[in-house]
């Protein structure tokens, strides 16, 4: 048994951390938040492309590095730690994964090299309204149903709150086609696509509502299996997001520990008060459980284990809880200053909120986890 990352993977991680420390300080994140003209950090994103991070898990045949998911996990953790304002997750965990998993050879050849090189931003457009989508357990009666639809190779419909939808070059869109639910590849640079940038809870991450009117699109994967493909895609992304969340949670905890060690009240470090110490202990516990569950998810993802759906749900539920607690209570431990724009606490508080909702909330994933656990042979 070897339930840890390898030395090579740890090296990738420490280099990623060094780069982000240097190129993605909190000031950069705050700049992006303040500047409506800059939906993401372009220079950093270019650098990330140059470093080959977007190429990590793309096979060499498509100009990728041909490394595995474990390498992607450690990079995700560092992006989360830095609360990096880049369209990495949309492009790599969702868009590229969809094509890797379901794309035809031609589609892979067309899209993956551009992701690998960092020149392309992709996104996944699924939600059309509020709520967490349908449960795996079938509901009685008809589900609200998907409105976006494809006929004669043309997509029409509206998608709400698409991460990086305003800056992406292409999208994978969940829509109903002639043979049922499917995933469709859409080049967003066409007249049938309208996008409206919308503010998100995390101003350092860019969101948009997308409207399609007879937009050109091509089917991805098997027609009629869109629902299952989307679920599988989200499971895989859940593990990668969990690493971002663990990185963010740890950053928030570290920030709180450092600040309260240095700040004095009543003649002693704030960190020496038991109320603060025990708060940090609880944050540590939550973060540590999330980390261990994320590792288990990484194992399942990288080894193609049949446990992946259960492992992914458990990693996600745990990661949401940890980042929520750590970002919230780090802010609290900072006292009034934690509530200011100028301090960094809110960068993680906002990111935690965003990541708690992307690919579905804890409310939804806990039900999903229960379903999977109750079905599992354990």
């Amino acid at each position: 048994m070897n339930f840890d990352f390898s030395d090579d993977q740890k090296l990738i991680q420490s280099e990623a951390r060094k780069l982000l420390n240097d190129k993605c300080p909190p000031e950069l994140v705050r700049n992006i938040m303040e500047d409506e003209q800059q939906p993401y950090a372009e220079a950093l994103w270019r650098q990330i492309g140059e470093m080959g991070w977007t190429a990590t898990a793309i096979p060499e045949a498509y100009d990728g590095l041909g490394l595995g998911y474990l390498e992607l996990c450690v990079i995700a953790e560092e992006l989360g730690r830095a609360a990096a304002p880049v369209p990495f997750s949309s492009t790599v965990y969702l868009f590229a994964e969809a094509i890797k998993l379901y794309g035809s050879e031609a589609q892979k050849k067309n899209w993956l090299p551009r992701v690998a090189s960092g020149e392309l931003i992709g996104c996944l457009a699924a939600a059309e309204g509020f709520g967490n989508g349908e449960q795996e357990v079938e509901q009685d009666g008809a589900p609200p149903g998907l409105q976006a639809n494809v006929s004669s190779g043309r997509l029409s419909g509206t998608k709400l709150g698409v991460a990086d939808g305003d800056v992406a070059n292409a999208a994978v869109v969940h829509a109903v086609g002639p043979e049922g639910e499917g995933l469709y590849l859409v080049d967003l640079a066409q007249s049938g696509v309208a996008r409206e940038a919308v503010k998100s809870l995390d101003l350092a991450r860019s969101y948009a509502n997308l409207s399609f009117e007879s937009a050109e699109c091509e089917l991805l994967g098997d027609a009629g299996t869109g629902k299952q493909m989307l679920a599988d895609l989200r499971d895989r992304a859940a593990v990668l997001f969990a690493f971002e969340q663990v990185g963010g949670a740890e950053a928030a905890l570290d920030m709180g520990v450092q600040y309260t060690n240095e700040r004095f009240a009543f003649g002693r470090p704030v960190a020496s008060f038991q109320a603060i110490k025990h708060k940090f202990a609880d944050m540590f516990v939550s973060k540590e459980l999330a980390r261990s569950n994320a590792y288990y998810g990484a194992w399942a993802l990288s080894s193609g284990a049949k446990e992946l759906p259960l492992a992914a749900a458990r990693a996600r539920v745990s990661a949401i809880a940890a980042y929520d607690e750590c970002s919230r209570e780090n802010l609290q431990a900072h006292g009034g200053m934690g509530f200011t724009w100028e301090f960094d606490c809110h960068l993680h508080y906002r990111r935690a909120h965003l990541l708690a909702l992307v690919i579905g909330s804890g409310y939804h994933w806990r039900q999903l986890l229960a379903t999977r656990l109750l079905a599992a042979e354990i």
Binding site: N132, G133, S200, A265, G338, F339, S361
Partner: protein, 407 residues
Amino acid sequence: MDFNDTPELASFRNEIREWLAANARTELPEGVKYGGEAIYAVAKEWYKKTAEAGYACLDWPKEYGGAGLTPLHKVVWAQEVANYAEPDSYFVIGIGNCGPAVTHFSDEKLKQRLLPRMASADDVWCQLFSEPSAGSDLAGLRTQAVQQDDGSWRINGQKIWTSGANHSDYGVVLCRTDTSVSKYKGLTMFILDMKQPGVTVKPIKQMDGNQHFNEVFFSDAEIPDAYRLGEVNQGWGAALLVLMNERMAITAVAPDGFDRFLEFVKSAEIAGQLLRDDPQVRDRLAHWYSQHAGVDASYMRMLTAVSKGGMPGAEGAVGKLIGGRMNQDIANFTLSLMGEAGAVHDAATAMEQAYFQDAALFSPGIRLAGGTDEIMRNIIAEQILGLPQEPRADKGVAFKDIPSGNG
């Protein structure tokens, strides 16, 4: 046990109902909203109007601009005015906190000069206590007041978290006047003219993008000795008096976000499902309601005690502690119901004009402003339950020798 007014209060209630019906608006003028800039002028007008009608500062003596009534009249007023949109508590910090300080510590002349103008909001007041290095440990403040040969005081230093400083004519300021004695013993409280050259106000940008508070910098600001509130170096006792009034104010107003949540649950539908039918939503609703209603009922118990001549105790900390966390938890829970698209923080797209997204970002402030959750628990533990203080590293140490982490 009953909820009936005494005859006196009943007749007062009738009187003000009539007056409010004739004078108060149920909607604010176009473009004016809470938290915005425009409301300041509206509030000034409203206070003026109530003062002219004799309804300002109901429990203050008439000679100082009040109505000479009791705290219970204030409660009745608050209940009735809540049916209208007027910004009736806009200047509550000045009037509620600075007012008692001036009443208690100033001479007659000053009281007659300052208080009626405060009551009518002709003068706006702010409270200058907190400092960057003195938050939970308020008595650790460092702003220095040094007495000059002519008896006046010269102030240097910085305050923070001052509501309304940008609009204020006067402030009540707590300063250090002796660093060679222990920290509670070297403080003095003053009235400060905010409109003088040595006072600079700088708004603080909050994490939610709003600006409700300010930093205030003093650079040789001047205070005549007549503006001193209480004895030199006796400022801590004076400050406690002010804070006790703040505490009583807190009980009534600590925002917990419950009503908005209830409204949401009553009416909202997500993905075709009525929230009111969701067992998890119902369970949370009941839990929060039992807390919300408990705080309400605790407030009624406190009012009963006050009406029998008692003093409000530290119980206000309960509502503050419950409300801050409830607000935050409600925001997080509702967002999780909204799912993926709940991340959109845009009034046009988001449910409820993004109220719950806003709440997620302002609620952390509620747990911090006016004393953190942790300080509330300390207050309850020490002042109500009488539990012993922790060993104090700063006890009996001259202020200048207290470890501050700055080497």
